[in-house]
């Protein structure tokens, strides 16, 4: 294992880290913006629900890799897309990746938020009503903050999940961390200097993110007392809840 190689090309990896972080962060934010109306709608008997449920099921039930392929390579197949205004966006690999990642994250976050809203203790809503707040005020001032707080661990998982999922970007020509690793390998005909460096970088970033989230959780969830006779099996940490 030749350590000199990745060190010599540290700038390649630095750009890769920036690209990865940028893509991951934006995908999470846009995903959140998508998930908010979806989660709120799902908790009411809205007419849009079948559509939303279909979207969530589709994006949670299929691999991110294929979702990305279909947006980048799949749509490019059609002349009518290439001739339209949307081509300006879909032409770029970066935008295609962002769209795919955001839609994917949005679906997972919609499920997280929906579940959290559903498990809002009745008392909080009743308290709001007792204070004379309208349903809208109750939603924005009581239910959402409380739900977001409750879902914090799951959001932490989703952040790590999206970071790992972003690797797929390198498969559609984006020079993220893995892309940098592959380029290094290709230049020197080595097999794993590039991949090992990429692995170390991902592990470091994950470690930092998990640490940050643990601090955030400590701060925001310090008021929660866990019931000692809860027989509920803890959710698998690190994985999005699919079932």
């Amino acid at each position: 294992m030749n350590i000199a190689l990745p060190l010599k090309h540290w700038d390649l990896f630095a750009w890769g880290v920036l690209t990865t972080l940028e893509l991951t962060a934006l995908a999470l934010v846009v995903g959140f913006l998508i998930s908010l109306p979806c989660a709120l709608s799902l908790n009411r008997a809205s007419k849009l629900n079948p559509l939303i449920q279909g979207y969530v099921y589709l994006f949670r039930g299929t691999p991110l890799l294929v979702q990305t392929y279909i947006i980048y390579y799949g749509l490019a197949q059609f002349d009518f897309i290439r001739d339209s205004w949307s081509w300006v966006i879909l032409k770029e690999a970066w935008w295609c990746a962002l769209i795919a990642f955001s839609l994917n994250s949005g679906a997972y976050q919609a499920e997280i938020l929906r579940g959290a809203i559903q498990t809002t203790p009745r008392g909080e809503i009743e308290g709001g009503k007792a204070l004379g707040l309208s349903m809208r005020q109750i939603t924005w001032l009581c239910v959402l903050p409380s739900s977001l707080r409750r879902a914090l661990p799951q959001y932490g998982n989703e952040v790590v999940f999206m970071l790992h999922g972003s690797v797929v970007a390198s498969v559609i020509t984006i020079q993220d961390i893995l892309g940098a690793g592959r380029t290094l390998n290709g230049k020197y005909y080595v097999a794993y200097e590039g991949f090992l460096t990429a692995a170390v970088l991902y592990m470091t970033i994950t470690f930092i993110l998990v640490r940050i989230f643990r601090q955030v959780e400590k701060h925001y969830l310090r008021h929660l007392v866990r019931s000692p006779d809860a027989v509920k099996v803890p959710a698998v940490p690190g994985l999005p809840q699919v079932t």
Binding site: R82, K91, A93, R182, G186, A191
Partner: protein, 254 residues
Amino acid sequence: MKRISAIAAATAALFAGQAIAADLNICVEGAYPPFSETTSSGDIVGFDIDIANALCAEMGKSCEMVQSDWDGIIPALLEHKCDAIIASMSITEDRMKVIDFTNKYYNTPARFIGAKDAGLTDTPEGLKGKVVGVQRGTIHQDFMESEFPDVELKLYGTQDEAYLDLQAGRIDAVMADSVAMDEGFLKTDNGKGFAFFGKGYSIPKYHGEGAGIGIRKGEEDLKKAFNAAIDKIRASGQYKKINDKYFNVDIYGG
């Protein structure tokens, strides 16, 4: 106890099935028409494969083709997944640091292709602001990075993916081997509307002496055997037969 030994036997059989049966394993790519491409049934065919089979017949050895993606083809050779690379790999100094090569088995220049009506020229000024696609880890990538450092480069895992994006308009030009692009793209339905522009490049610094057979360092006997076989099929007319099956010109080069 019986169950454990049955499982052990099955596992051993699985691994044995993976063991090498042929005398020589040859790494081929399968994504570089017409030199190598994959049919719908999963077989790999093309000029490289025909040459490989002809050489093996001359050497009196049985050969098996092993598919490898271009990115991992040299590591595959180094790690004994195969014993030779016949995948249109150019003989360059950089590669010679890691592996060895036989004599060339063909040599053709590299060129640019782009849309017919784009009016592109192969100068740094002419390509300024344009995007050129190359296959990652090829001499064409090195050439572009050195001779056209200010042109935006997009790297692809296979040549086919570069053609795809050229058709889609994501890139303005592709730099690769002229014969491969001619037969593998321009002359096909997908290549309508695209043509060569600029001259042919055959600079030894980047393009080497041509495409050779990659082998591990130290395998002198294998190298001699391959070289002898190449000379024999050139002399016997076998090479010409395979050449003419795919191309109108003699691609062996001077």
